[in-house]
Each structure stands twice: as C-alpha cells, then as structure tokens.
C-alpha cells in the first residue's frame, strides 16, 4: 500500500462522489417534500443518459451542451410520471408507493431494452482523453468537470429552494402540507414541480457523466442503490447532508477498493448505511433522536 495509490483513490473517490451527490440530491428532495421513496430513481438517470447519448452521437452536440436538452426533458419526464402514477398514491401506505416505483423501474428498464436493445453504449467525446498529472496522481478532466458541475448544480438548487417563491412553497409543502395549503399554496402542483426538479437533477448528472460513463438499460440499478445509501447517510430530506454524504460514499467506495479485497468495500458501504439507520436515522447532520 503506497501513498500515491491512496492519493489516486482519494481523487477518484472525490470526483465520483460529487456525481453520486448530485444524483442523491434529486432523491432526497423528492423524499423530503412528499415522503416518497422512489425506487425508479436510477431509471430516470438511465433515461437522461440515453437522451444525452443520442444528442451527442446523432445530433453531434458537445456533451456539456446536452444539458440544454436533458434538463428540460427530465423535468418533463419526471412531472409526467408524477402526474400519471405517483400523484394517485400520495396518501397510500408507504409500501404501496415503494412497490409502485419498483413496478415503474421494471417498466422503464425493459422499455429501454425493447427500444435500444441491451447494447452497452459509449459516446465518443474529445474530453475522454484530457488527463493531467500532478505528481503521480492523474486528474481526469471529464470527472473534474462532473464534480465541479455537480457542486454548481447543487448550489443553484440550494439557492432556488432558499431564496425564491417557488423554493419557499416547496419547503412549506414539505414541512406541513396542510398548513401550506391553508396559506394558499397549491400543494399538488408544488409536489409536481418538486418531482420535476428532482428528476431534472438526474438530467444534469446524465450530461456530466456521458463523457466518461456507459449507457445501458440497467445502468441505473447501481446508481439508484447508491443514492439510497447516500440519502440515509445525509439524513432523509437533508440537502447539504446528501452533498457531503455523496462525497463520503464516493471516497469509501474508492478507498475501500484500494484497501479491501474485491467487492467487500461495498459491504462496508451497506454496513455504514444500516448503522446510520439504526443509531442515527437523522443522518450526519441530524440531531440525535430522543
């Protein structure tokens, strides 16, 4: 075990952690606002990545310009799916909601399989070759951009939630939907917008990932699972928590792989997850439960 290996692992973990964080922020927003655990979250990312892929390959767009397509598209997809499937079960037992989204993820995954076949697709972009060396550590441009973009997008979203009327409405609806309703906020509509924004986060993530990651119908499974871990670790519904937890999990996966054999690093990830659920369900920043 040498230091340059660990330094490399730390850099990789940090970068991929930023992307993890962005993906999780969408999930934690949706959970925080309407208490829905969306098991199809990873599949939304998959949709975003297909859109980004085709925008790059067919329309010849620069991968980072595809943001202009993926973000509105994912917002629409999210809003439509919310309106069609989530809205009717908002007051149903949580298990029914979970299973509805499990069904949704099966449908989306296999629709992708029918339309695009199982091919693992890579978009060729000039960014893939941009690497810089600092000492013995390699910095990959696409991942650096993804990290920076994720932090930027998260900050933007934070500002949106804190400082705009829309953000205030979303926060009001999440804290007390009945009171918000009484204050004249259209809660259902706010939910719809919040779900759309949560999905749009995945649009950003998809565009940022397309220069260095592949697309396939099952690509969402891994990211969906990781997002759950991060959301719990950060505190369910906690925005900043998800950001920090994303980086922590990124580092855990990467440093764990450097120190532990095989996929045991992932066992460690899940162990952290369960321990937090048990002993600190409010997450890293949450107050300890009485």
């Amino acid at each position: 075990m040498n230091t340059s290996l660990l330094a490399q692992a730390a850099v990789n973990g940090l970068f991929i952690g930023g992307v993890f964080a962005l993906i999780s922020i969408g999930l934690t927003l949706i959970w925080g606002v309407m208490r829905i655990i969306n098991f199809a979250h990873g599949e939304f990312l998959m949709i975003g990545m297909y859109i980004a892929y085709f925008a790059v390959v067919r329309a010849g767009l620069d991968p980072y310009l595809t943001l202009l397509v993926t973000v509105p598209a994912l917002f629409l997809v999210g809003a439509l799916i919310f309106w069609g499937t989530i809205r009717p079960v908002l007051s149903a037992p949580s298990m029914n909601q979970i299973l509805l989204t499990v069904g949704l993820s099966l449908v989306l995954q296999n629709l992708a399989l029918v339309f695009f076949k199982a091919d693992v697709l890579f978009a060729q972009t000039p960014y893939a070759k941009m690497n810089y060396r600092i000492g013995s550590v390699v910095l990959e441009m696409p991942k650096l951009i993804a990290f920076a973009g994720s932090v930027l997008a998260a900050s933007l979203l934070y500002w949106l939630l804190q400082s705009t009327d829309l953000g205030r409405a979303i926060r009001a609806a999440s804290q007390n939907s009945r009171a918000a309703q009484l204050m004249g906020i259209n809660v259902r509509q706010t939910y719809l917008v919040a779900f759309g924004i949560g999905s749009a986060c995945l649009g950003v993530a998809a565009s940022l990932m397309i220069p260095f990651y592949y697309v396939s119908p099952t690509v969402g499974i891994f990211f969906g699972t990781i997002a759950f871990v991060i959301v719990v670790l950060g505190g369910m519904g906690n925005f900043l928590g998800a950001l920090v937890a994303g980086v922590i999990i990124g580092l855990t996966e990467s440093l764990g792989a450097a120190v532990l054999p095989g996929s045991l690093a992932r066992v460690f990830t899940f162990a952290v997850f369960v321990l937090f659920l048990l002993f600190r369900p409010t997450g890293i920043f949450g107050r300890r439960q009485g």
Binding site: L5, A118, Y214, T218, A258
Partner: protein, 404 residues
C-alpha cells in the same frame, strides 16, 4: 370464506387454460421441422452478450436450412425455439422444462453463463434430453459424469492453460520474460472460475502471482483497482472482464501510463466490437486469448456473412454457438431420427473436421465426459483497432508489439 371457492374456481380455470395452450406434438416418423431449444440471457444485464451468442446460432440454422436441411430426414428444417434465462439460474431451469415439455424440442443449445448452465444442464440430464453447451467456462459443467451434456467450447482450464503457454512463449516472440503477474478480475462466477484456473496453471509454470484484485462488474470507476494491481510491479496483468469494466480498465491503463505492463484479457469485454469502437487507439496493445479471429485462415468469409446479417463482427461467443448448431445438424444427419437416445449417441460420436469446423482447433470430438477434446485458443493483440492473431505462431498474421 368466499375466497376458498374463488381459489378453487380459479385453479380449475387455470388448468383448462394450461391444457388448452399446449402446442400440438409432432407426430412420429419424419417431421417437417425439428425443434431445437436456444437458451440465452436475452434480458437482464447480460442481454447484449446473450443476443450476440444467439445470433451465431441463428446464422448456423439459416445456413443449414438453406443448404437443404437435414437430408437424412427428408430435408427437415431446423426451427429454433428461444428461451430467455434472464441471467437467472432458476429461470434457466424453468426454461429447460418449458422447452422440453411444452415445446417438445429435441435438444437444447445454450446458455453462456456458467451459473445458469450448471443447473440447466442438470435439469436436461434429469429429463434425458441432449444439451449442447456452446460456450460457458466453468470446468464443472463437463466434470459431473453426465450422459446428456456436451460442451463445444473450452473450459476455464483451457483459457488459463493457453494464457500461461503464451506467457512462457513470449521470449521467443521477442518479448520479455514473465516472472510475476497480477490478477485483476470481476467477481462473479466468470471471474472467479477463470482466476482459480489461472492460479493453478501459473503455479505449475512457476510464475508468481503477486496479488489478486477483484471488483464488482458494475463498478463506476476502476482506476483504483488498476493502480492497486500495478503497484505490485508485475510483468503482466491478467484480467477477466465484461464489457464496461474492460473499458474502464483500459482507460485507467492509459491514464496511469502503464504501457510497459502487458495486459492480457480472457476473451471478455475486449473482444466485444463495442470495446474497440469506444476506445479507439487507447485499446491498442491489449492482448487477449480468444476463440475466433476473422483474420485467421478460412474465417473471413463466415465473418462477412455474419456481418452482413447482423451488422457487427463475429466474436468468440457467436462462433461457438455457430459451431454448436453445426454439431447438432451433423448429429441429426447421422442419427436420421429425432429419437433422443439415438440423437444423444450420435452427438457423442461426433467427429468433425475440415470446413464444417470454424473453431481454431479445426476439429470437434467429444471425450467420455462430453467435453470437446480439441479446444484451442488464439492470442490476439489489438493493433490499429483490429484483433490481430499473434499466437500460436502457426496462425499468427501479425507480430506482437511491446511497450506502446
């Protein structure tokens, strides 16, 4: 409790439905079409490879039928009945049952993944139906003393044996002597089976294994794993991969500037057409053992037809399913009947060579255990975006290049 009666009514209905949708069985004598089961992971994470293996078999059957079908049975045509394992062992078993009992197939060809092939062949053995494994690597598949199971492709041992033989041959090809290697592989049954064999053969050859790095196949980044393997300073890194991890490993190799270490894959992601397409020149220099090369003698024509039909090059997987189709047709031809015992015996007595064999070994003959005794692999190196055969010398059409 009304539900009881409801349950009863439903089960009656179900039984009626079940019995009514059974396909009519072919009469005795000489059937117009011979149903053959084709069992692959057509959905789920491995569906791409599943598609690829299936295509080889489809082409074989089209060729056989176009050439007049099975002559000894009045030109009977082969009809493939597909089964989807979804990559799950239990579904594989279910599909064997369905193909045999519902569809009445005379034999089954499949099914790529060892974890599915092991129980699926066991079910075939129980049902006494010939099962031709085109490609699935676990040694165990043909080491259980089964009567009804045959494997055309190599077992894990063959891959490892040829890899090690190649490494030993390197100095004679102008390469460095390989004294110590690192193993880097994905951690499902494919990686674990192959690595186990690699360790055994490397030990026999006196090559030291410095470390064994494993990773989950759906990992988002493998830079750390590659650095970890490279940090032990090996002469070569042997990998076992699927597609996306092969790409991640190759990218990491370029990023980290590891061109002085030989990277050798085990007919995994590196032989997928998408691999070279994605990586371009970054893939150059990668070595892999492989079951097929379009540059080898007599392979170009087959590859062209495959390409025309499916739009991509043939791979080591599809060439084996193609061969499995020919093996079955050959056995049917000699048996002259679809009666299962006669067919089984005909398959067991297979001895094919010449133009009916598209595999590198040039011959298919099953041993007592049902394993094809003539498994032979090429080593190819990716040079300017093509898989060029560099070993064994007899088939090599390119010189191996080092340190680029």
């Amino acid at each position: 409790m009304r539900t009881n009666r409801w349950l009863l009514a439903l089960s009656v209905l179900l039984c009626i439905a079940l019995t009514s949708c059974g396909a009519p069985s072919a009469g005795p004598g000489q059937p117009k079409t011979i149903k053959v089961g084709a069992l692959y992971p057509l959905s789920g994470e491995l569906a791409q490879i599943g598609d690829n293996v299936r295509n080889g078999l489809v082409l074989a059957v089209e060729d056989i039928n176009a050439a007049g079908g099975i002559r000894s049975m009045g030109g009977a045509k082969i009809e493939l009945v597909f089964g989807d394992t979804q990559g799950k062992p239990d579904v594989g078993v279910s599909e064997v049952d369905r193909l045999v009992q519902q569809e009445g197939v005379v034999a089954i060809i499949g099914c790529y993944q060892s974890a599915v092939t092991i129980p699926a062949t066991q079910e075939a053995e129980r049902l006494q139906v010939p099962f031709i494994v085109d490609i699935a690597v676990a040694n165990k598949i043909t080491e259980r003393g089964f009567r009804w199971v045959f494997r055309v492709g190599p077992k894990a041992d063959s891959y490892a044996a040829d890899q090690v033989a190649f490494l030993k041959d390197l100095p004679s090809l102008g390469g460095p002597e390989i004294r110590k290697v690192a193993l880097l592989h994905e951690d499902t049954d494919w990686g674990q089976s192959t690595a186990e064999a690699q360790k055994r053969f490397l030990k026999e050859a006196g090559i030291e294994v410095l470390t064994e790095v494993t990773y989950p196949a759906n990992a988002a980044d493998l830079t750390t794993e590659v650095s970890k393997a490279a940090a032990t300073n090996p002469d070569a890194i042997l990998t076992v991969t699927y597609l996306n991890d092969a790409v991640l490993i190759t990218q990491a190799r370029e990023k980290l500037g590891l061109k002085n270490i030989l990277f050798m894959d085990t007919a995994g992601g590196t032989i997928d057409p998408e691999y070279i397409q994605r990586l371009g020149s970054a893939a150059d220099g990668m070595l892999t053992v492989v079951e097929f090369s379009k540059f080898a003698k007599g392979s170009a024509e087959l590859n062209e037809r495959y390409r025309a039909r499916f739009g991509e090059d043939m791979t080591g997987n599809s060439v084996h399913s193609y061969q499995a189709g020919l093996v079955l047709a050959d056995a049917l031809e000699r048996a002259g009947t679809t009666e299962k015992n006669a067919l089984r015996d005909a398959i067991a007595r297979t001895d094919m060579s010449g133009e009916k064999v598209v595999l590198p070994s040039g011959r298919v003959q099953f041993g007592e255990d049902g394993q094809n005794r003539f498994a032979r692999l090429y080593v190819v190196q990716i040079q300017k975006g093509e898989l060029m055969p560099v070993w064994p010398p007899a088939v090599a059409t390119a010189k191996i290049q080092f340190g680029q």
